[in-house]
């Protein structure tokens, strides 16, 4: 939850930037018995955001599949060694540059981090770089 609030702060700071935000909520811990409530959804209130409930964690599975299929494509370094079939991608944030297309596999991000709340300074830097003409 702190990650969502921290992200909203960055979005507020960058209100004029042309960007899109995809917020994917997924059950990970035992209390995640249902989709996010209005309170959780309201943490990210930026109009550039679209929110999704991924009950079966299909996006996480798709990302793990892509990482394992072609590790050289993603700038993960040592973290990649920790990715296996059981890995759940969550509390995770990634920035994708203009022009990146999601074809069979999700494209390589220009920045990624986890947990989200500790990735905020990196996110600010990445947005500064990614939005330069």
């Amino acid at each position: 939850m702190r990650g969502a609030s921290a992200l909203q702060e960055v979005l507020t700071e960058n209100a004029a930037l042309p960007l899109r935000v995809f917020v994917v909520w997924e059950p990970v811990i035992v209390t995640d018995v249902a989709p996010p409530t209005t309170g959780a959804l309201g943490l990210i209130h930026d109009l550039r955001a679209a929110q999704y409930w991924d009950r079966e964690r299909v996006l996480s599975e798709d990302i793990v599949r892509a990482l394992r299929a072609d590790p050289s494509r993603y700038p993960l370094g040592d973290e990649l060694g920790e990715v296996d079939e059981e890995t759940i991608v969550w509390d995770f944030i990634a920035v994708f540059p203009r022009g990146a297309l999601w074809e069979r596999d999700i494209p390589a991000p220009s920045f990624h981090g986890f947990p989200v709340v500790r990735s905020i300074s990196g996110l600010r830097q990445a947005l500064g770089t990614a939005t330069q003409p």
């Binding site: 960007l19 935000v21 909520w25 059950p27 989709p35 996010p36 409530t37 991924d54 990634a94």
Partner: protein, 75 residues
């Protein structure tokens, strides 16, 4: 064997029943609580194997913009 007083029995019963009742209330809240996105955002969409392509399409539709993907747990 020492018999428990009425107060002790009541306290023990409350110690068991109150957490159960609170857990039930919390589960009911989680199940039936409203789930509205902030005004101006598209409605909350459900992802599954069949609809993952719609997220991909939305991502690609905005290829001329920087995109942020964030994956979070609701609690």
């Amino acid at each position: 064997m020492k018999k428990l007083s009425v107060w002790t029995k009541t306290a023990l019963a409350l110690a068991v029943l109150v957490p159960i009742a609170l857990a039930g209330l919390w589960l009911a809240w989680m199940k039936y609580a409203p789930r509205r996105v902030p005004a101006g955002q598209p409605a909350l969409a459900t992802l599954d194997a069949a609809s993952l392509g719609r997220l991909r399409d939305a991502f690609n539709e905005h290829h001329d913009e920087v995109r942020i993907l964030v994956m979070l747990s609701p609690t």
